[in-house]
Amino acid sequence: MLTIKNLHAEVEEKQILKGINLSVNAGEVHAIMGPNGSGKSSLASVLAGRENYHVTQGEILFSGMNLLDMSPEVRAREGLFLAFQYPIEIPGVSNINFLKTALAEIRVHKGLPPLDAKEFLRMSREKQKLVEFDAQLVNRSLNEGFSGGEKKRNEIFQLAMLEPKLSILDETDSGLDIDALRIVSKGVNKLRSENNAFIIITHYQRLLEYIVPDFVHVLYDGRIVKSGTKELALELEEKGYDWLKEEAREKATTI
């Protein structure tokens, strides 16, 4: 579904990704971990097509197409979803109208007719229940005055509504209390299927207790320095990142 080859990228002329290789297949959940400033969120931004991130080398294939040729909205319509680390507030725009617009755009892109009001409403109710999202929040202005936890849960509700192929969760666990974390994870687990894939970016192993990944990758200094299964996350929890940093440095000097 997603193939990243030798990806180099910079922001404001500073190199932040220095040769990422990653392959994600349908049905898989990949966790990307790593210390602050290692390039985790930058990778998410590059995938979503944020403006000031420039790819200097490498390629990204998404469902066989060149992702880097697509505008951010086309990437979204093709089924790439980013759950933002800091969801944006848009005053006066109701959550539900925003979702109706977004879903209509995605359906047009896929050559599907728009959902009528009744179908849309039914779908919205169903998904609210699925991810345990408060009905009151559905009709409020998009993220305006939402608590940190409510914003993160709204991202998962949007994910449920838009049914993307590939979802990237950028530190969705940060700022969540244990109950919210459980609800968010439960939602994601229900949405997992053999047709979609997830990339979960996180600092902590805690989230991975709830959403069990198939693969864990450690990002350090713009490169993936280690990949493994869920046991790697436990190892990191125990030993921290320093030993990996050490290893990476040694590798760099021997090369």
Binding site: R50, L82, P91, T101
Partner: protein
């Protein structure tokens, strides 16, 4: 992503939808302004002598006054002698039914989306259509008559209800008020007249649609709305003009009178031709609008959505004379290309326990300049008066301007006056967030703008709120890359 210059080009390429000219035989008075012009208009309209005298007084005060200099823009020179002050479709007789109206005229209004045949009219909206100087047709007249409601052209009101006109005309905006109001008093051609009798709740929206067609003419209509004790009316005006390279002057006067326990809701969706991308042509929209809450518990509410005109310069105001009376002002003003808006309101608190609320939302794009100017005046007897003002500005791009000039004068220390102001830019973050959900930048901006203006749009009658939303989206199409 396009840069700012491309963005500006994009906006300029959007055509003004209503820029066509109707080819129809017209009676046009040659350009020029003197006493004879006024006598000609008055005679043409078979006016009583008191009205001619009132016009002449207006002309005298016009001659005495100078153009203001306090506004926040360079006022272009206006040659009042080069304007024609009267233009009317050549069809002498009065229309008794729509069948008698020139089909070309009806077609014009159809094209503008204002069907005048009652079967096709928006349900629940009565329309008065003004073409250059003359009111063409008023719909639903008979139905309103049953309730005692008078809704007709100003000219007709002068003939058929002279006592009401004489009593109230100039009672809120005197003929000497300001130079443009004085000019209007002298040469006003037509406009709408509304009277709602005691205790009657007008069952439908009343609406006037103004259209400037002829070259080198000014439009000087006058609207007078009287809501008698305990009555209610909601009124809406819309306007368009052809695209021309010359500027055209629109200097209207609107007077609202709300007696005890009466309520008037006045909404404007203004879409005069704004000029081209370099600021050539467009309407000068210099209008004096004022209402008075004469009796206790009266309420006047102004709502305006201003997207057109080269220069918009007006301050719909309320005189809060009756105790416990309420004044409201809700405004969205958009300026782009070289458009200028200097608009706001005045709330004069005279009576006890009077309240006013001002919500102003300015949107500037391109090289547009948007100023909010507002006066809240609390008189010595206005015990417990309250005002709340919120004045927001939204900037799109970095070549436009937003300015705020709030004035507060309080002569009563029991009054409460609150003022809040914000300035924001449409954030790249907001647009990217919407992009990431599959929405392109153009639609994203439309969503954000409509969200921003929602508090004002919500005040509009349902049918027009949808129109206004569309208008805002179209106006700002291409503003952001």
């Amino acid at each position: 992503m396009p840069n700012d210059n491309e963005i500006i080009d994009n906006i300029a390429n959007k055509e003004y939808e209503f820029g066509f000219v109707t080819d129809i035989e017209m009676d046009i008075l040659p350009a020029g302004l003197n006493e004879n012009t006024i006598r000609y208009i008055s005679e043409k309209k078979k006016e009583p002598e008191w009205l001619l005298n009132w016009r002449l007084k207006g002309f005298q005060s016009f001659q005495k006054q100078k153009l203001p200099e306090w506004q926040n823009f360079q006022l272009p020179p206006i040659d009042f002698q080069k304007i024609s002050y009267y233009a009317a479709p050549r069809n002498k007789k009065k229309y008794n039914s729509l069948d008698e109206v020139d089909p070309e005229l009806l077609a014009t209004f159809e094209k503008l989306g204002i069907p005048l045949s009652e079967q096709k009219a928006l349900t629940g909206v009565a329309v008065d259509a003004v073409f250059d100087s003359i009111s063409i047709a008023t719909t639903y007249k008979d139905k309103l008559k049953e309730l005692g409601i008078i809704f007709c052209s100003f000219g007709e009101a002068v003939q058929e209800h002279p006592e009401l006109v004489q009593k109230y005309v100039g009672s809120v905006v005197p003929h000497s008020d300001n130079i443009f109001a004085a000019l209007n008093a002298a040469v006003f051609s037509d406009g709408s007249f509304v009277y709602i009798p005691k205790g009657v709740r007008c069952p439908m929206e009343l609406s006037t649609y103004f259209r400037i067609n002829t070259e080198n003419t000014g439009q000087f209509e006058r609207t007078l709305i009287i809501a008698d004790e305990g009555s209610y009316v909601s009124y809406l005006e819309g306007c368009t003009a052809p695209m021309r390279d010359e500027n055209q002057l629109h200097a209207a006067v609107v007077e609202l009178i709300a007696l005890e326990n009466a309520e008037i809701k006045y909404s404007t969706v203004q879409n005069w031709y704004p000029g081209d991308k370099d600021g050539k042509g467009g309407i000068y929209n210099f209008v004096t609008k004022r209402g008075i809450c004469k009796g206790a518990n009266a309420k006047i509410s102004w709502t305006q959505v201003e997207t057109g005109s080269a220069i918009t310069w007006k301050y719909p105001s309320v005189i809060l004379q009756g105790d416990n009376s309420t004044g409201e002002f809700y405004s969205v003003a958009v300026t782009r290309n070289r458009q200028i808006a200097d608009t706001g309101t005045k709330m004069h608190h005279i009576g006890r326990n009077t309240r006013s609320r001002i919500i102003s939302k300015g949107i500037s794009a391109g090289h547009g300049n948007n100023s909010y100017r507002g006066l809240v005046q609390i008189g010595p007897k206005a015990d417990q008066a309250r005002n709340f003002t919120q004045c927001d500005s939204l900037l799109i791009g970095d070549q436009c301007g937003a300015h705020t000039f709030p004035y507060i004068e309080s002569k009563n220390n029991t009054a409460t006056v609150e003022h809040e102001a914000t300035t924001s830019k449409i954030g790249e973050d907001q647009i990217f967030y919407l992009n990431q959900r599959g929405i392109d930048s153009e639609k994203a901006v439309a969503l954000i703008i409509n969200g921003y203006a929602k508090e004002v749009l919500n005040q509009l009658p349902m049918e027009f709120a949808v129109e206004a939303q569309k208008l805002l989206s179209i106006t700002l199409e291409g503003s952001v890359g």
